[in-house]
Symmetry: D2
Amino acid sequence: MSQSKGTVVLAYSGGLDTSCILVWLKEQGYDVIAYLANIGQNENFEEARKKALALGARKVYIEDVSREFVEEFIWLAVQANALYEDRYLLGTSLARPCIARKQVEIAQKEGAQFVSHGATGKGNDQVRFELTCYALCPQIKIIAPWRMPEFYNRFRGRNDLMDYAKKHGIPVPVTPKSPWSMDENLMHISYEAGILENPKNQAPPGLYTKTKDPATSPDTPDILEIEFRKGVPVKVTNTKDGATRQSSLELFVYLNEIAGKHGVGRIDIVENRFIGMKSRGIYETPAGTILYHAHLDIEAFTMDREVRKIKQGLALKFSELVYNGFWYSPECDYVRHCISKSQEMVEGKVCVSAFKGQVYILGRESPRSLYNEELVSMNVQGDYEPSDATGFININSLRLKEYHRLQSKVAAKQNE
Amino acid sequence: MSQSKGTVVLAYSGGLDTSCILVWLKEQGYDVIAYLANIGQNENFEEARKKALALGARKVYIEDVSREFVEEFIWLAVQANALYEDRYLLGTSLARPCIARKQVEIAQKEGAQFVSHGATGKGNDQVRFELTCYALCPQIKIIAPWRMPEFYNRFRGRNDLMDYAKKHGIPVPVTPKSPWSMDENLMHISYEAGILENPKNQAPPGLYTKTKDPATSPDTPDILEIEFRKGVPVKVTNTKDGATRQSSLELFVYLNEIAGKHGVGRIDIVENRFIGMKSRGIYETPAGTILYHAHLDIEAFTMDREVRKIKQGLALKFSELVYNGFWYSPECDYVRHCISKSQEMVEGKVCVSAFKGQVYILGRESPRSLYNEELVSMNVQGDYEPSDATGFININSLRLKEYHRLQSKVAAKQNE
Amino acid sequence: MSQSKGTVVLAYSGGLDTSCILVWLKEQGYDVIAYLANIGQNENFEEARKKALALGARKVYIEDVSREFVEEFIWLAVQANALYEDRYLLGTSLARPCIARKQVEIAQKEGAQFVSHGATGKGNDQVRFELTCYALCPQIKIIAPWRMPEFYNRFRGRNDLMDYAKKHGIPVPVTPKSPWSMDENLMHISYEAGILENPKNQAPPGLYTKTKDPATSPDTPDILEIEFRKGVPVKVTNTKDGATRQSSLELFVYLNEIAGKHGVGRIDIVENRFIGMKSRGIYETPAGTILYHAHLDIEAFTMDREVRKIKQGLALKFSELVYNGFWYSPECDYVRHCISKSQEMVEGKVCVSAFKGQVYILGRESPRSLYNEELVSMNVQGDYEPSDATGFININSLRLKEYHRLQSKVAAKQNE
Amino acid sequence: MSQSKGTVVLAYSGGLDTSCILVWLKEQGYDVIAYLANIGQNENFEEARKKALALGARKVYIEDVSREFVEEFIWLAVQANALYEDRYLLGTSLARPCIARKQVEIAQKEGAQFVSHGATGKGNDQVRFELTCYALCPQIKIIAPWRMPEFYNRFRGRNDLMDYAKKHGIPVPVTPKSPWSMDENLMHISYEAGILENPKNQAPPGLYTKTKDPATSPDTPDILEIEFRKGVPVKVTNTKDGATRQSSLELFVYLNEIAGKHGVGRIDIVENRFIGMKSRGIYETPAGTILYHAHLDIEAFTMDREVRKIKQGLALKFSELVYNGFWYSPECDYVRHCISKSQEMVEGKVCVSAFKGQVYILGRESPRSLYNEELVSMNVQGDYEPSDATGFININSLRLKEYHRLQSKVAAKQNE
């Protein structure tokens, strides 16, 4: 009997792909430990455990990382108002380092030299997984079957996987595969590939799973009061029924429920992958969408204008880093520190309505607002000296006048 | 009889404030030319003309600047995806330089040394008006009554204006003033001040005028195909009834109609004024909201990722400049040039749905897209070599590994 | 006898201008407290004290702020590599908030409602002084005589000041005024105005006071080893004679001496004032120039590339804020925090040579460097896998190839 | 006799490495065309031609690209004030796309499917060469022997190359190799590797080749008047002897001569390679250093402050792109366009002195300057209204006062 090549911790999903990879890895001579992160997706975890063991996994880890996903990843994105290319709330990007971090921990605990995953060779997720692994454990070795010719040449399509599954006693899915691929976690679900690869094709009815169709969503809004401290939501109150949620995970789950019920959080975009190609994705991010709008509002209310501008630049960088897989990097550490620092005074309540796919800000209040009702009032002059504005405008116009003077001189010369 | 102090071109709105200013300016010894820009607001222009003449204006100019507003101002904001502080589509900010430019033209034509306006001393509009005037005509003199003690000490509230009006035969509004102030143009309407000054107060029902309440808006969407060339919309087709619009002004008016009908474009925000205070505004921007989303989509589809990032930075600057009143400035000239340059290949059709206050992107197509369906496909390998991604990831991880190495070394030293 | 209008703390320099202002303020009915900061300039402080008292100052404060200037202001600029418009090391800009902060402290201690200064109405210093005062003590009132018509109309030139001085027993300078104005502190000296206002005029021989002419400076360099911790110099050793300096102030003074001896730190620039005009200045910043180069080097050696890029952007902002007078502002607080955070690992020794007006970096070492001699070596392959670079390049080329593909398609179409 | 695998255009330097590669490529079955760019380096081109032919090159191209290097590459860097990581003038980075462009042209003309180069697998140059090739000719195939195991495992050090050379009749260098590697072109020379890999080691005496040692350089400066149009030098006049140069190449060569004579342009830095490692380099860039300073000065003199700030951001990006090898990329095209646009008014004369390793700006003049001597003058009030500055400062302080108010409120609350 041949010697093991070593132990691999495989990020296992329970699906056809990673089941085949599990068996294939064993075939290649590895001991396989299956690892399945519970990051809030809709999944039968116990069935997956049994399946992995049945397929020959030496051990199965099913790890609930939902709460740390919310507190250590999503909350930072909320503080940042993180948005990739002006639209994408980074639902998948944020989950990857959270999942991979635990995978590395397991590998270290188990003394495994290898980790493996089922991400494709054209996508972002391979990068996010692997950069996390290398950053946290530089000596780790990564097996990415979809980038290995011996694997991808053998499995050229779904049919090859099906054949292999049948041959190796891997349970084959009974329901037909949807004509697109999905990836889900607590924050969002993505739909890509298949018929969606044509960017002109509209999302077919029935695609969405996390949000109701706004056409059939309730005819009355839910109105929520969201309370923030240090830029992070700490309490949600539904003004309709008085329901409240305070703990991070419960609060986030509740917002998903309300937003989902009202069809909030759907987008259809073409984005630029780190790898250099454009791809089309349809996403649902219910709670994330509400929090994006609510945080934007309370931040604008409590943060100085110029601090906000600087923080906005850092957040653009943050979003790009997270998207590209650099959560664990010196620069992302640094940017996170700076963004968190900016949130110290971001405190207060925002009142929002969720209705028919839309989030409306209705009002806000804060003990730490820089809004000064008396100062801004049209009826009260207060300390404000209107004539100061004259000087302000005049000095600001100085440069413009000088520019005009020069333009005229140059124009005059050209007409000579 | 005393000599005239000279001629003033007054930006006249027909309302109580500027009517009193008109009379007051005459009282101060100026000849007054009233100028009223038709920039798409809902207004009885002929009545305003008569009123101005009746109040003693030497001449009245009513100038339709709607088309130039769309073509020379709004289109640039669309190309830029211009957004101030992540939310405000700049509806008022864009109108000011358009209005003031014409005012300067009239002053130059009429040989007037003065221009005047009724903007308050705490707001942005005074800055936008005056910087435009100074930039285009450095020697112009500006009379801003609301910043002159002799004026604002005399007119301390609406009652003082009413009294003055009665005394000087200025027609007094018969309907009671709404408990907030409004400013309207073709692109947007703003509601500010009064009861809205408390940022916690929700917008009262009945406030909105340009958009239907999403609660009562139609139960079926309108689906529009918007065609862009060089980043500017050149054709809109309603797929429901086949209606099309191609000329800029008509196209924009049509989008206002459809978006308004579906309740699209409402926001309630606190923003930072140039003058240094925070203010609260409720805005409606129907067509602008649709175009923002549609342009964002076609741009992402046709523009290189890295060009997009650079252009995004320039657009942030552009938005700030426009908000602060620097449309006519060397830096805004420069930024506009650069942004327009980036739009040369932004061409194609976006399909959008307007429904219940929301805009949904449904699909897009373009002869100049950088999207490559074959390259990105999960089913086709194409020219793409998956193993290249391994090298790409490894090289990207180099820096992260080095950082880890250093951190470990430092940590080890500290534990010694 | 008339009542005092209150107490003014006047930033007093001992020169003709502020002596006249002192007397003039008394004439206007104020009690005057003279405040003279010792910030390292060449000055006879005791004589100035006597003069102020003789002119009627109720009290004189001579405050040595040199050490806090170095530790709380200059060190931050060193950490930032602060440079305004690519050239100016901000010697004056950094001194102003340090001087004004103490002035506000004195005003608060003395219960004075007013502060006053002799800065002109066209310059940056008025802004820097006053923004500092307002930020630290919003209710303070500022008397800026050079912006008050009753003052500047009375004193239209130096002769008017001389006449006034003679009339009021103010000692008149016996040496003729140099044909330019100077401002000096520990970090730098500036020469402006007068014959230097023509930007074509070369600095006359004999203008410089802090640095030797490189033409006559020593023919052998001084070679210094500068040690940094957290981005701040903590020790300087002269390899020639073994002299060392460790305490911040002594270290800085020593670097001034060595740099000055070798003619290091002269520049002649045209810069953009906050007020909107361009001005010409000739500056000497001996120690600051050495530290700029040395810090740049040790930072590049110890800081991650991407962190550096982000920090560079923040430092650009920092420099602009400091130049414009916003040292005490929420945004500058924030930026300083972020920059300091970036310096935690900036530690090590840089070897520099000062010679004939130039600073040369000769070498560097650090226990916290990210430089990895083995990794970069051309002779050792180490862990590095050259073939990874192929994948890295190929993936990076993907976008470029796609762009080429599109350009060709478009070109082909245009040629049809 | 076996069939050719095809034709390779090899970037040939005449040295040991590329000579071995030439023979090795033939050994592998390729037809080899040698290409040697004359980009201003010190080289015996005819000898190299003979050598290549003797080694079996089917054809030799020796192409003089000096003038296009100056006009199409260096001039853009001058306009940009391009500087990588605050110090490196990009002398090598700019040369690579110029060299590779011609290589691709030759490949296309000769119908060669392959290009090859001798750049190492750890450096930047491989990236710069290959990205240029792929961007200009996506279907080209690149042979990079130093990244191919069959090559680098065979040639593990210089001795292996020497042995191979002797065996294959390749002339072996008679002079011992210098203990570092060099790369030269018209703009600069770099010294790296070998004994310089230890960043603490000082550059040994005798290393420099393009500049005189400042210790022995002339004791009197050369004073040059450099005239710019559209941000590009168009004329240089030496005020000492009246010598002038106007044509781009001649002008640049002349500046190299003068700067070199005075020891101008030496730096010793640690920089961050694109590949993710830090490396140490010693560089000489004589003419480039003078032009950097002169252009900075004329630009500041003629460009609006705010345009300058935006352009500065673009130039930072430009420098990074050029360093990383993305000269031919959509984003670099775009940035170059924007930077050139900013230079339209950058016109005038700068007077500079080169002396003992240093460049001093002495004065400047321009028909298009925004400098207004009268406006800035301390003696002339002009149109400037000093009281405007009061309003300007007050309005700017508003935000700071509000922040203070909030801080006090929060502090008060915490002390309750």
